[in-house]
Symmetry: D4
Amino acid sequence: MKLTVYLSGEIHTDWRDQIKDLCNAKNLNISFLEPVTNHELSDDCGVIIMGSEEKKFWHDNKGAKLNSIRTRIAIEKSDIVVIRFGEKYKQWNAAFDAGFALASGKSIITMHGADHQHALKEIDATALAVAETTEQIVKILEYTIKGSLN
Amino acid sequence: MKLTVYLSGEIHTDWRDQIKDLCNAKNLNISFLEPVTNHELSDDCGVIIMGSEEKKFWHDNKGAKLNSIRTRIAIEKSDIVVIRFGEKYKQWNAAFDAGFALASGKSIITMHGADHQHALKEIDATALAVAETTEQIVKILEYTIKGSLN
Amino acid sequence: MKLTVYLSGEIHTDWRDQIKDLCNAKNLNISFLEPVTNHELSDDCGVIIMGSEEKKFWHDNKGAKLNSIRTRIAIEKSDIVVIRFGEKYKQWNAAFDAGFALASGKSIITMHGADHQHALKEIDATALAVAETTEQIVKILEYTIKGSLN
Amino acid sequence: MKLTVYLSGEIHTDWRDQIKDLCNAKNLNISFLEPVTNHELSDDCGVIIMGSEEKKFWHDNKGAKLNSIRTRIAIEKSDIVVIRFGEKYKQWNAAFDAGFALASGKSIITMHGADHQHALKEIDATALAVAETTEQIVKILEYTIKGSLN
Amino acid sequence: MKLTVYLSGEIHTDWRDQIKDLCNAKNLNISFLEPVTNHELSDDCGVIIMGSEEKKFWHDNKGAKLNSIRTRIAIEKSDIVVIRFGEKYKQWNAAFDAGFALASGKSIITMHGADHQHALKEIDATALAVAETTEQIVKILEYTIKGSLN
Amino acid sequence: MKLTVYLSGEIHTDWRDQIKDLCNAKNLNISFLEPVTNHELSDDCGVIIMGSEEKKFWHDNKGAKLNSIRTRIAIEKSDIVVIRFGEKYKQWNAAFDAGFALASGKSIITMHGADHQHALKEIDATALAVAETTEQIVKILEYTIKGSLN
Amino acid sequence: MKLTVYLSGEIHTDWRDQIKDLCNAKNLNISFLEPVTNHELSDDCGVIIMGSEEKKFWHDNKGAKLNSIRTRIAIEKSDIVVIRFGEKYKQWNAAFDAGFALASGKSIITMHGADHQHALKEIDATALAVAETTEQIVKILEYTIKGSLN
Amino acid sequence: MKLTVYLSGEIHTDWRDQIKDLCNAKNLNISFLEPVTNHELSDDCGVIIMGSEEKKFWHDNKGAKLNSIRTRIAIEKSDIVVIRFGEKYKQWNAAFDAGFALASGKSIITMHGADHQHALKEIDATALAVAETTEQIVKILEYTIKGSLN
């Protein structure tokens, strides 16, 4: 079985690279998809390409819509959506991705620290696995693909 | 046209009652649905009914799953989902509802203050209306049902 | 059989009232839905309710999104979508409604003059009936509901 | 991420070739699909293959249905539908494609001049990006695939 | 439980009335839907309402499309589709209804004589009940609604 | 909020009546649906109505298909599917209902004793609530409808 | 564009081979799928593999269900379903395939002689092309893939 | 035609290997998917990766959810689901897979001994083939892919 996995959420740590490197080292047959992880560019992409806006709302609106093309397509192409909630920012877009993924029939895995446990209880309740570390995520993916663990 | 509207999000202010009272005063043909708004009960409902848990994670998990029965059914029965982001708490479940509603083909209206504008840009970008006050929400509902404003 | 019929398209003639009056006179069990037919209000509704915009694009964007709440819900609630192409304006929104209705599994009936025949061939090709007059539309609805004509 | 992009709308300028050439030059992994762009052939294909018709309506009907096989399949195979509204003709089929694409869950990008802004407001309101030039379209596609711009 | 039942197929005997009368006598809570059963009118409805055609193909095409509005909506509103294959005519539209009903998730019941058994094996294989008489159909509906037989 | 609840599974105890009586006593607005609970009749309904079979396989096949009309329609009409696993029999049809309900987007509640816990772990893992008693089921339904408990 | 085309219907003439040979000669990128065309084997496959039946009904039922595995999967994998109605037999399974294909969102092309025109009017009314010869079918497929004709 | 086949059910005999070996020997173009067949690991995978639980219920819950990622994705990727009911254990998860597969539109084939015939009648009634041996399963797959038997 080949898997397509979307890595949603936090963009300020290297958790995606950790997962991809570990999966590569284990030769797991996984295509990883991810949002634009360049924070500044993802904020400004809309106005850079389609022209500036005076109001911050429309500046953001143009960028958010443009980013959603990539995000939406990626989630739809995925079998599994891994969602990382980090320490900083509101991260409402990560929670939004979780809701979108669930109603789209995707398998959801969350990754976050114990401090966010209560606030994430609704999302964790829809997840098929709740992890704290990238090592756990990789084991979950390995087990799902190979049906074994070493 | 009769509408069913789900009022998602913040449970610590009376914004739902304001909207319902104003819509009643205008005789708008709307059925309002809402989550359990008793904070303590919604946290503890699972263990109250189905037995206590030592771990906070499972205490929360039982409650969150039980609450999701009501929430999921209510969103599916709705034509419009209004999502209120307030001042307090992480409110990831509100963002989660937004994603679930979008992928379920519902019309989304958000309500929040200007201070949350940037953090909510992905969700606002999928909303068909972005409001700041309950009066605006009521006018949006009135206009949608009657096709006029007074 | 009870029908719900959405009347899409031209808003500057009284074709909707003609159809509704004739169907009422025949006691046909039909709920009619329709877009906002007040041209000025439908253009300005967004900024009236949610605040003005300097740019025409965003002025229009706010209004168009707000109108789409009503339009989208109405099409989804309908069994049949009647689309009237009149003499004036681009009427791209009417053609847009036709595409949306088709992909949503609705039965499409078009009404337009012979002069638009060639330009509307793609849409007529998806219609289950192509009419020129409101009398024909009413007979089509009568026949669909009652299975007879008088 | 590999994308499939349907290029809908205007067939009398070389905008499709511009986009394809620029994307090729950037080595973007995109499969482009498009309607039949030979105007005369797309009008007459039905009667050429399946026999002539005296009435213009059926002449057009046969051709439009035949063209819809290609168009419908192409939209369904696509991740993104780019819709170009040009200067000439009614272009109702382009607006129809937009509605069909939206209800089919595709990401919509529109391209048109400022003069069509008001008439296209309903369609632009559903678009995730609104462009004026082929260069902008290419940047949008590049950003969506690569998550970066150069 | 209330049921909506579509009675598809043969229009030259009174099997529909037999079923409806027997169900009424038993006070079963069923809404029956059916196609236009006036053979001549169903053949000519298109040209009567929308104008005559010289070619038989288009005469029939206009009528068949018009009839399909009623048929398609009725099947979609139904829980159960009963399909009667009689002695005469090709009855391809009845077999077509069966395929449409199956892919639409409806429960299919067929009614036909033993002489058609082999030719209908593909359709019978998708049916949840295969009957020969209207009495059997009524018992099947009674049992489905009430869960008992008298 | 009004709910429709399907009561699937064990037919040899009075758990359905207990739930219905308790819900009636609390005036909960619930429509209950259920399979045929007359064991002998549900085994023999097919041959009673449509003629006897020599082979047990076809005797059972006719009955099982006939019963599935009621079961399938009832699950589709439901918001919640409660599945009771009792002490006796294989009860594979109850587990089958659970899988069908899950893929149909229904909220699942299971009810069974602790002795079945391990064998039902896959089904419990998809349930939004796992109960042991009818009193718990009633409280879950009450809480879901009213958002409170007394 | 690559196409997958299912060739449904008549199995007693070589029309499938004609179409496949002509498409191969034109190097059209098409995967053809088809039902089992060995009449005797398709009648008896069920009992050959899974054991004999005394009753003709169950003999046929076992075979028809087994054949439907191939047929159903093939239609679902197809972009276009070509349905040939020949001179002999009832051919209800061909009409059934047409209904199933339509409700599954497939593009339908029919092929039959003028003598069947009236009896096939409901199915032709849902077809996007109605042909009489294999040469026409091949031209339709060529035009759909290449957008040109030679 | 290439097939993807999910082999669900019993994990304590070598029936999967028998089927795969026989299909390989016949060069059938089939991708086989299967659940984790290491009983102990599939019971404990959740706690091994994500941390131990004191209660057996949550121990099982974590494992069952984790296993469902693989199972759910595999069924969705499959054209056919073969479900083997063996001699031992409750096997409710096999019956659950059958229900999930049916509502997901998959073709179901069951394999079991005559002793389970009555208890499996509801599931057999939805199966397109009911087999007793792996040889029969292989012939069914061969016939489905090649349309012939040797």
